[in-house]
């Protein structure tokens, strides 16, 4: 029972749903690494209120049904005190059922997303539309002169809600949406889309296509000459882990807007990045996409650092 006090000798059980395999594995592996780093740090400091943290990591395989099953296991079998994780908004919704609605357990969602989650048992540590779209779109229109926007999108809740906000902000700033299209997440042939983008004369592509479709889309958009003709490519969720997924030339000049990039150079951010890189060298990097926010949420639970 989540509301009953834990016995003083009990560990605090922390559950993490991470997409360690499947199209988002490069992010999910980094999330699991960050969770281990934060839990080890907190335990080295004596845990929380004198209690050791015990981490339970489950692989959701970038699949919402798998995520729901693993979430149910964490709550019903492992009886964790809190669940972290989920990247796609559809995965958040899949986790929410067994964890929050069924399990009455605290859930922390660490991804940039469409906003509007307002369950008392859920905390969101990533940015929403007011923090990404509202300041960024007017900045981009001013900086680049872009007036016409095309919105190629994956067909799930995040792109639909975010695009509505993009339309509102672009229109309010004197611009126009010249195309908006939705595709299944694993769609790979975007040649017709790319042709329509060229035909529309769009100054900017605001992309919400996600893995695995985003790799062929960016390749086909690049090959069509969109950016070499001066088109602006925008993708708010892209971080360094996503950059690693595509050839640099395909995304040269791409604009993003997040709460952390590896280039942020305050002392603390640099220290975290150095610590992570020493512990987990390799392709799954410490980035803003989700790992940094899981870290923020974890350290927020502990004593001042």
């Amino acid at each position: 029972m989540a509301t009953s006090p834990t016995a003083a000798t009990d560990h605090i059980k922390v559950g993490l749903i991470a997409d360690q395999t499947g199209p988002l594995s490069f992010v999910g592996l980094a999330n699991a690494n960050v969770a281990r780093m934060v839990v080890d740090d907190l335990n080295a400091d004596g845990g929380l209120l004198g209690r050791h943290l015990e981490l339970h990591v489950e692989d959701s395989a970038t699949d919402d049904d798998v995520a729901a099953g693993k979430a149910r296991k964490l709550v019903e079998v492992d009886r964790v005190d809190v669940v972290f994780g989920g990247i796609y908004s559809s995965t958040r919704q899949a986790i929410k059922g067994p964890v929050v609605i069924g399990g009455k357990t605290l859930y922390i969602y660490p991804e940039q997303y469409e906003g509007q989650e307002s369950d008392p048992l859920i905390f969101c540590t990533g940015p929403g539309p007011a923090q990404q779209v509202d300041p960024f779109i007017p900045w981009l229109m001013e900086r680049t002169g872009a007036k016409t926007f095309y919105l190629p999108s994956a067909d799930y809740i995040w792109p639909h809600v975010l695009n509505a906000r993009v339309r509102e902000v672009v229109t309010a700033n004197g611009g126009t949406i010249v195309g908006e299209e939705y595709y299944p997440l694993d769609h790979t042939d975007y040649r017709a889309t790319v042709e329509r983008i060229a035909g529309s004369g769009a100054d900017a592509v605001f992309n919400t296509i996600v893995p695995p479709g985003v790799t062929p889309f960016f390749e086909q958009l690049h090959d069509s000459g969109f950016t070499s003709r001066g088109g602006q490519l925008i993708c708010t969720y892209f971080d360094e882990n996503f950059l690693n997924m595509v050839p640099a030339a395909h995304v040269e000049g791409l604009y993003g807007c997040l709460d952390y990039y590896q280039a942020v150079d305050d002392m603390f951010s640099k220290k975290l990045l150095t610590q992570y890189d020493a512990l987990y060298p390799g392709d799954a990097q410490f980035t803003g996409g989700t790992p940094a926010r899981a870290c923020t949420a974890g350290y927020a639970s502990g004593p001042p650092r």
Partner: protein, 75 residues
């Protein structure tokens, strides 16, 4: 949780409701009371040769989310 002084779910939620960290990845972060979303430093970055360069530091920005438990407004 340190502030809550207790690990009951009610106390943990009450503490997280206005949790803040003076230092975090990207800068400080502050939970906006009642919203369960955080004020965060935001950055605009641009990909250059396979890396992201910061082109604008937007500073701290509020999430402007509705209060938890409030009814969803449609339409």
């Amino acid at each position: 949780m340190t502030e809550a002084g207790s690990l009951t779910q009610e106390d943990v939620i009450a503490a997280l409701d206005h949790a803040q960290i003076a230092e975090g990845p990207g800068g400080p972060a502050v939970m906006m009371p009642g919203q369960h979303h955080a004020r965060l430093n935001m950055y605009i970055a641009q990909a250059r040769d396979g890396r992201f360069e910061i082109v604008e530091n937007l500073g701290p920005i509020d999430p402007q989310e509705r209060l938890v438990g409030a009814p969803v407004l449609t339409g």
